[in-house]
């Protein structure tokens, strides 16, 4: 058996590493893989066309955009921000744990764009986290402030990644379904999203306990001296 078709995989990795247009990388890799496996050029294009057509259900999910857009027009993001604002007054650790839960739950319900670095972290979560830490631990060094802001951003990422996969109509779930189906293994989106739940719980436990420890450590190592 020849190993040449594996060059297609190498092309994907190299193309992404070189920051070429990802769609172009993927299609070139598909064409190369087909050719190297001994298919005729036109047969490869046809195979790609059939595969694209068979997987249309993945892109169907964009029909939700008019709904989300309309709600944003009427202040959905502002509403999410005022919900986050109600966390004011909590300690740093509790504030970020609550935001982690908020981000995971809303992402799991398909509202992944009401949070985010531009939408909630920079305007709200990061400044609130800094204020909460200053309240508990007194003056903070510049380095500690940076760590707190970075931790706020990290909390948003962890909440999003390990929440969104519970929503069954998210692209990653449908991509898994598509790849398995084309290899002859039928799966349902609900099965896949159910199996994302254990990792989501682990993410909450691991990151949540780190947040509380981070808060305590700031108190002990507080270089700024109290009030």
């Amino acid at each position: 058996m020849t190993l040449w078709p594996l060059l297609g995989i190498v092309m994907v990795i190299a193309g992404f590493a070189l920051r070429l247009n990802p769609l172009l990388v993927v299609v070139c890799s598909a064409l190369a893989t087909g050719l190297l496996a001994g298919l005729e050029p036109l047969a490869v294009v046809a195979a790609l066309g059939k595969a694209f057509n068979d997987n249309r259900y993945i892109s169907v999910t964009w029909i939700i955009l008019p709904l989300i857009g309309l709600l944003e027009r009427h202040g959905l993001q502002q509403r999410a921000q005022s919900l986050v604002r109600t966390l004011r007054g909590a300690s740093l650790g509790r504030l970020l744990v609550a935001y982690l839960a908020f981000r995971q739950i809303t992402s799991a319900l398909g509202m992944k764009d009401i949070g985010g670095h531009a939408q909630t972290v920079r305007p709200l979560v990061a400044p609130m986290a800094e204020a909460a830490a200053a309240q508990t631990h007194g003056d903070l060094s510049a380095e500690q402030r940076e760590q707190i802001r970075a931790m706020a951003a990290a909390t948003d990422n962890v909440g999003l990644f390990f929440g969104e996969d519970i929503f069954f109509a998210i692209a990653s779930i449908l991509l898994i379904q598509g790849v398995f189906e084309s290899a002859g293994h039928a799966l349902t989106p609900l099965q896949l999203s159910l199996w994302a739940v254990p990792s989501a719980l682990c993410a909450f436990a691991i990151h949540g306990s780190r947040l509380l420890r981070f808060d305590r450590r700031l108190g002990r190592g507080g270089t700024g001296g109290g009030q």
Binding site: N21, T33, I63, A118, D165, A169, L187, W195
Partner: protein, 314 residues
């Protein structure tokens, strides 16, 4: 019976509307791109495979040309949105909740009650069809409640879609890549290679290699989506599912999540890890990754353990 064909017609009409809006705004490349996608949804089943392939090449050429633009339709300003959000309150979340509720409750009702025997929905595809129904119901509710200008829904959706751009079809294209890999026999090829490297019968070791491959490829490519078809064709499907008889849903979901742990560790995922560092004015561009590492590593271990236990022990 409601099938995917009905859902595709709906999606085709939505993408077609966005193509027309782009045309009206003079964004030719956007109009052509969304127009081609609308054609795929409306007519893909009536076109030859070769014609569909040509359509794919057209989409990629437009994306690679770099001519797709954002749109800036008339919308409400920040102050107006603040007022509206205070007036409408938490009820604003309700329409968005209709969609998952319809799909999850509908699927459960359809699976566990006599409703399923009516054959109203296409078998195994009921969740996504119910998702489509949920979107239509939620949109109708929102329109009746908020009474925006008639074209607003399409324009607001178009605004979001144009900000996503060609990346909107990336997951679909990656699934197509996975299918071509399957056709080219990549699975058995790697399965053979893996078999010669990993001691035969060592399920745990194979799971670790699968999870490690997902995380490392994701770190190199900056994208778990791109890594997934590769690792699924390489180890996930041929070895873990077919050779060792593992539970396919666990291997699929767990593999993707192992990749997400990699996303937390790589500067290649700039949107998540580098852009926020700039946005938050951190002096260290890798400051966010540093804070994430302590979560990503134990979480990866947990995810690999979940794959092993869920797929082979339970």
């Amino acid at each position: 019976m409601i099938t995917y064909a009905a859902l595709y017609t709906l999606a085709g009409l939505v993408f077609g509307t966005w193509a027309l809006l782009s045309l009206r705004g003079g964004r030719w490349a956007n109009a052509a791109f969304w127009g081609l996608l609308a054609t795929s949804f409306l007519a893909g089943d009536h076109m030859s495979d070769l014609a569909n392939g040509a359509l794919v090449l057209g989409l990629v050429a437009l994306a690679a040309s770099g001519r797709l633009r954002r749109s800036t339709p008339a919308t409400t300003g920040p102050a107006e949105r603040q007022d509206l959000s205070e007036r409408l309150g938490n009820r604003l979340f309700l329409p968005a909740l209709i969609v998952p509720l319809t799909a999850v409750c509908g699927t459960l009702a359809y699976t566990y009650t006599p409703l399923g025997r009516t054959g109203l929905l296409e078998a195994r595809h009921e969740t996504l069809i119910l998702f489509g129904i949920g979107v239509v119901v939620a949109l109708a509710t929102t329109l009746a409640w908020l009474r925006p200008p008639p074209v607003a829904a399409a324009e607001e959706g178009g605004r979001l879609l144009d900000s996503i751009g060609w990346a909107a079809i990336m997951p679909q294209m990656l699934a197509a890549l996975g299918a071509v890999f399957a056709l080219a026999g990549i699975g058995p090829l790697i399965g053979g290679l893996a078999g010669s490297v990993i001691p035969p019968g060592s399920v745990l070791l194979t799971v670790v290699v699968y999870g490690l491959g997902m995380a490392l490829f994701t770190m190199v490519m900056g994208n778990a989506f791109a890594a997934f078809p590769v690792m699924a064709a390489a180890i996930g499907i041929p070895v873990l599912v077919e050779q060792y008889g593992g539970h396919a849903a666990v291997i699929g979901a767990g593999g993707m999540l192992a990749g997400f742990c990699g996303t937390l560790l790589t500067p290649m995922a700039a949107n998540y890890n580098i852009v926020p560092a700039a946005l938050l004015e951190l002096r260290d561009p890798h400051g966010v990754i540093r804070q994430q590492a302590g979560t990503a590593l134990p979480l990866w271990v947990c995810t690999v353990a979940i794959i092993y236990v869920g797929a082979f022990v339970l």
